[in-house]
Symmetry: none
Subunit: 228 residues, 4 copies
């Protein structure tokens, strides 16, 4: 590695370290209440040093979101690529999402605040970032849905609409779970959701096959804490 490359890499590493510390502070205090001082202290560096890497607090906030979403996107892409049949893909996607959300549950408030920020900001930068990620996820969902249809597993459904809906549902469940104080299993909630929706879209042949399992799941719900 050349001298420049090493320096570049060191710089990048330091940036990451600041971002990681910032996540914690932003999550705990929120964008406005988080002080640059706090973040500097968390990263055990001087206040001025942050500004060597991010020119404003807002830019750091955006970087935090980016860092996060890149992580999520990559995981989702990998999930879909590492399976062949659409059913496994769908399962893997849900699994990845649940893992991601469980891992970052404590940072949910950043997500909300970021969305709020984006909706209000004159600068489209924030909204664009959100939408680009949504587009990517929608595409993945759409493809899996279409494969399901091709294999006659799913009824004929507008795959784009369904994919958008799924994304909304996914965020919505996560949000409720957080607001409900994580009092039930997020994974079970997702599975319950899958039972309800899958049950609605499956072709009769498939439905009969898994009817029993679905029925049990629906009856059981996801609120009882002793999950099998």
């Amino acid at each position: 590695m050349s001298r420049n490359k090493i320096e570049e890499s060191l710089r990048s590493e330091k940036k990451m370290s600041i971002i990681q510390c910032a996540i914690g502070v932003f999550a705990e205090k929120g964008f406005y209440s988080a002080k640059m001082q706090d973040i500097a202290e968390a990263a055990m560096i001087g206040k001025g040093t942050i500004y060597e890497y991010f020119s404003t607090k807002e830019e750091l906030f955006l970087a935090v979101y980016d860092y996060w979403m890149d992580d999520y996107e990559m995981a989702m892409e990998q999930a879909v690529e590492s399976h062949l049949d659409p059913v496994s893909k769908a399962d893997a996607l849900i699994d990845t999402t649940v893992n991601f959300y469980e891992k970052h549950a404590e940072y949910a408030s950043i997500l909300l605040e970021f969305w709020a920020h984006a909706l209000r900001s004159k600068d489209d930068h924030f909204l664009d970032r959100i939408r680009s990620m949504k587009k990517k996820l929608e595409l993945i969902g759409k493809e899996v849905t279409q494969q399901m249809q091709k294999l006659k597993l799913f009824k004929s459904v507008d795959s784009a609409s369904f994919s958008v809906l799924e994304l909304g549902i996914s965020d919505g469940i996560f949000l409720q779970w957080i607001l409900d104080g994580k009092s039930y299993s997020l994974r079970e909630a997702y599975k319950f959701r899958q039972s309800v929706i899958g049950s609605g879209l499956m072709m009769p042949a498939l439905r009969l096959l898994v009817a029993d399992k679905i029925e049990k799941k629906l009856k059981k719900g996801f609120l009882s804490s002793n999950q099998s």
Copy 2:
């Protein structure tokens, strides 16, 4: 009305007026960027006067949320009470929700910010308020679901879980709709959701009855702008 009662009522009216003005300012600028001065100007009163009614900015913010949620709760309760059969009730609930969300779309960022605030606040006041509202809505949803089951319209499903799920889905769809720049009809998205989910929970008898309509809806999706 006694002298005191009149005064009390006047006071309450003024409070409402401040809250209503605050909603607009909070929505446009967000909690932190909204200045008490802005709110006072919007309400055409002096800055100090706000403090006669609310002791801090945070309290006013909470009052804004309360005012809003009371409105929503009341509308939902009325919706369910003004219909007898559970299918109409369900339709009315969806209608009310869509109406409410469409009406307050521009205030979505407050909602997000409020949730973020609640998640972070040491003071459980905020979370409690959110949960009390969710409990109420969950109850409503649970009852309707149980009635559906009693009438053999719905499969056997844990009504509490389903109700919680529905709430999450509802918020999730709204959120996506907002983040997607309201580029499609929120109502159609809700109907699509209903088709997917309904299709999964309906008893075979009912399903056959509405199969055609549902099938069409699923094929069409909700993203095309020329909705019938």
Copy 3:
């Protein structure tokens, strides 16, 4: 006086009070080293209060200069108006200038800094203010010169150029006096200047009349401290 008028007047008075305190602080520390805190303390008000009257530090600085120059301009105008013959007018102008400069000697550094600021500022506001004052003074000087010529006291001289020159000389003498640590009498320096220049412009008739006095003045200079 109406309620509004009174308030307006109070506001104006407070503004003046802040300006007067700011003069002292700016003079002692310079624009950059003068802290708003210092000025607030000098005025015995809160730091924030200054911003009720001046929106930026720079605006306050400009106000200080304006306040000063208005004072000077008014004094000069009054000086010229309260005399009829041009010789008395010229004497009065010099007298006024000397008085003004002696009174504000300690604030000379503000003047210099203001000029430096004006020369550099992208905003022409500062330079314009300086030039408008110079224009006014040049006009006054020009008129007096022309009257001198009309009365055959002065040789034929381009009055505009002479007026500009005089202004420069005036500032220059003041500057030297300040930089020389006020080690001689500013008044005597001005008189010496008058002798040199007057001697050069006077018509022979007048010159012969005052030759003696001028000669003495020239011989004596203005550096000896025991001024008569």
Copy 4:
């Protein structure tokens, strides 16, 4: 040259190079707004390197002024030495001054700022430097004046006072010229000044000799742009 001498000389050269770059930056931005970074960039060296040569920003500022004044002093000394008769000397001095000022017109704001700085500084260093230069120039002026008197060209006048006056006038004209946006010829202004003052101090014999030329100059002034 010994090893040490060479190193010393290299060091000195680098110092000069930094000073020259600093002049430009200080002139454009002023002492406070000029960043050490800017100066380092202008000199194409690292920020830290400046501190190898100057221990503080203020010291560099002083060095800039010194460098400048040394330049001016040397030019003035050379001017007076390269002529024999006092009239030529006086002309050469004016010429040198005009040249110097015209060349450094854009740096006028530094001069002003430096003076302001000097007046305020607790540290007499700055004022002393100014005064030592003034002393030198006054001495030169005094000598020339005395030679003029010896040759019976000038009336009897206190040469020290006159020299101080001249210095003030010189700076004053320069200052006006700068503040007037250099809208006329500095050289013509100096000549006009010479006509006015010379006319006042010349002995009758000399005056008659140049009366015509002076009269024309006075009538013409220096504000018309088409200078002959």
